[in-house]
Amino acid sequence: MLTVEEKLEIDKAIHEVPVKKAACIEALKVVQQKRRWVSDESLKDIAAYMDMSPEELDSVATFYNLIFRRPVGRHVILICDSISCYVMGQEKLTDLITKQLGIRYGQTTLDGRYTFLPNPCLGTCDHAPALMIDNDLYRDVTPEQLEEILGKYA
């Protein structure tokens, strides 16, 4: 069931577009923002609300990198794995995160604290390597800084 609050936000997006379906990505975003990911249950509810079939909405949802169709942890770590960051030492950072947290790309720590994902270029290549945790961008990241950065997210 979509909450009243979610419905209100989705309605706002629907009002901005001439065709209701055009707001379906917004709708997925709204729900993901509240629940961290889009479960099969939520997907069905959103589809019904948007007058779409669940299959049609799922084909949209699974196309985009940042709509999560599987549960994620409380914090999502996105490391830039594109070219400038690669040149500037991203693979070392990835190895370190894997070691420190015991998770590889796509996995979530057992305590549900972090999910670790690679992400294409974060658009801050002059300050590579870069990573994002939730809404926070970290640039020129050195291996020494990692522990402190990760520690900020309980």
Partner: protein, 420 residues
């Protein structure tokens, strides 16, 4: 040296407020156009200015606008492409974060020229700060009467919306962007019909890059001769160049299009880091051909870079140094393209992962002599004309040029069966 796009930036990275922008002459171009110019005259001016799109393909902006039918019922759309997901490219971010009103004014002028009544900023998800800045600037522009109904009493109406994407390189391809805005998968559309005739929701639509749109107020204010004279070559205006990789001071600078690769690397980016040598560079983002030492004095304009066998692309250069594995470098790029392929056509969907795999095998010292042939085969069959959109041919540019200039690196790894 004039720097119209960046001259009024505050220097502390904070966005120029509406007041500050107005004090610097902001929205004067809009006043002028609405009062003194027919919509068509704005298009003609931009056409005569020789402005070429800064999103990568370099198409003449005024020419593109001139294909929009004028006497058709509303809505018509003007879209700012702020997806910027090409690896190595970070120039639009600077404009979005620091001079939001310059972009908005450019968008209103473009919309006026084609008589669009609806506009969108299609912004990538990762640009959180830009999202905040643009949202606020749009609100300010509405409050000041630059957006909405009857703008500055001219009878011209325009709405502007911010749409944030959910991550997919394909969203930057202009027809895929339209599908994404319509709530679909971001796969490209067949052309014709061109978006100018039938774009968003089947209506006439123009898609322009952030930097392109930011040039418009200046062209309207100062005229075509001034704009052309900003760069002495054939290509008009300034360009925001970037350098990333192992140089001393990576960054971005607005410069006339006379600047050479050498000047960018040595004078602006401070030269290579100590102990490292320059081996090559992708001059304009991940989907451009390598240029090498012999090209260091190539002029970084559309014509100069093309004559050297590459593309100006987004104008943001990625440096390859002598301590970085060429094969690893190219493998990283092809991994990106393989992952971001929309999967619509077979050569791209099947070919890119194959390429990535072959490169990986070579990288870990398990390559075979025939692997190079396999890679070359792909550069041919994923090249221009064989796939539905420009992603696959773009992906082949760094690969084919790496095989041309750094073939020995590939061969040695294969021959000696060592890992990179």
């Amino acid at each position: 040296m004039e720097k119209p796009l960046t001259q009024h930036m505050r220097g502390d990275g904070a966005p120029l407020s509406l007041k500050e922008y107005e004090r610097a002459g902001g929205y004067q171009a809009l006043r002028k156009a609405l009062k003194e110019m027919e919509p068509k005259a704005v298009t003609t001016l931009v056409k005569e200015s020789n402005l070429r799109g800064r999103g990568g393909a370099g198409f003449l902006t005024g020419m593109k606008w001139s294909f929009v039918p004028m006497n058709v019922p509303k809505p018509k759309y003007l879209i700012c492409n702020a997806d910027e997901m090409e690896p190595g490219t970070f120039k639009d971010r600077i404009l979005l974060e620091q001079t939001p009103h310059q972009l908005i004014e450019g968008m209103i002028l473009a919309a006026y020229a084609i008589q669009a009544d609806q506009s969108y900023v299609f912004l990538r998800w990762a640009y959180k700060l830009a999202a905040k800045v643009i949202t606020q600037a749009i609100e300010e522009a509405y409050a000041a009467g630059y957006l909405g109904k009857n703008i500055l009493g001219s009878g011209f109406d325009l709405d502007m919306h911010l749409h944030t994407g959910v991550g997919r390189y394909m969203c930057g391809e202009e027809t895929a962007l339209l599908n994404s805005l319509e709530g679909k998968r971001a796969t490209p559309r067949a052309k014709p019909p061109f978006p100018q005739i039938s774009g968003l929701f089947g209506k006439p639509t123009i898609v322009n890059n952030v930097e392109t749109l930011c040039c418009i107020p200046h062209i309207v204010n100062r005229g075509t001769d001034w704009f052309k004279n900003l760069s002495p070559g054939a290509d008009a205006g300034t360009k925001i160049y970037g350098v990333s990789g192992k140089v001393k001071k990576p960054g971005a600078w607005e410069l006339p299009m006379t600047v050479t690769m050498r000047e960018l690397i040595e004078d602006y980016a401070g030269g290579m880091q100590d102990g490292l040598k320059f081996r090559g560079a992708l001059p304009g983002g991940a989907s451009t051909d390598f240029l090498v030492e012999e090209h260091l004095d190539v002029r970084m304009d559309y014509t100069g870079v093309a004559a050297a066998g590459s593309r100006l692309g987004t104008g943001t250069m990625i440096i390859l140094d002598d301590h970085t594995s060429v094969v690893g470098f190219v493998r990283n790029l092809e991994h990106f393209f393989a992952q971001e392929s929309c999967g619509f056509c077979t050569p791209c969907r099947e070919g890119l992962p194959w390429i990535e795999k072959v490169l990986h095998t070579i990288e870990i010292g398990e390559g075979k002599p025939e692997d190079i042939k396999t890679l070359e085969f792909h550069t041919k069959y994923l090249g221009p004309g064989n796939t539905f959109c420009a992603l696959a041919p773009g992906a082949m540019e760094p690969l084919q040029s790496a095989l041309k200039y750094f073939r020995k690196d590939f061969e040695e790894l294969i021959r000696h069966k060592i890992s990179a």
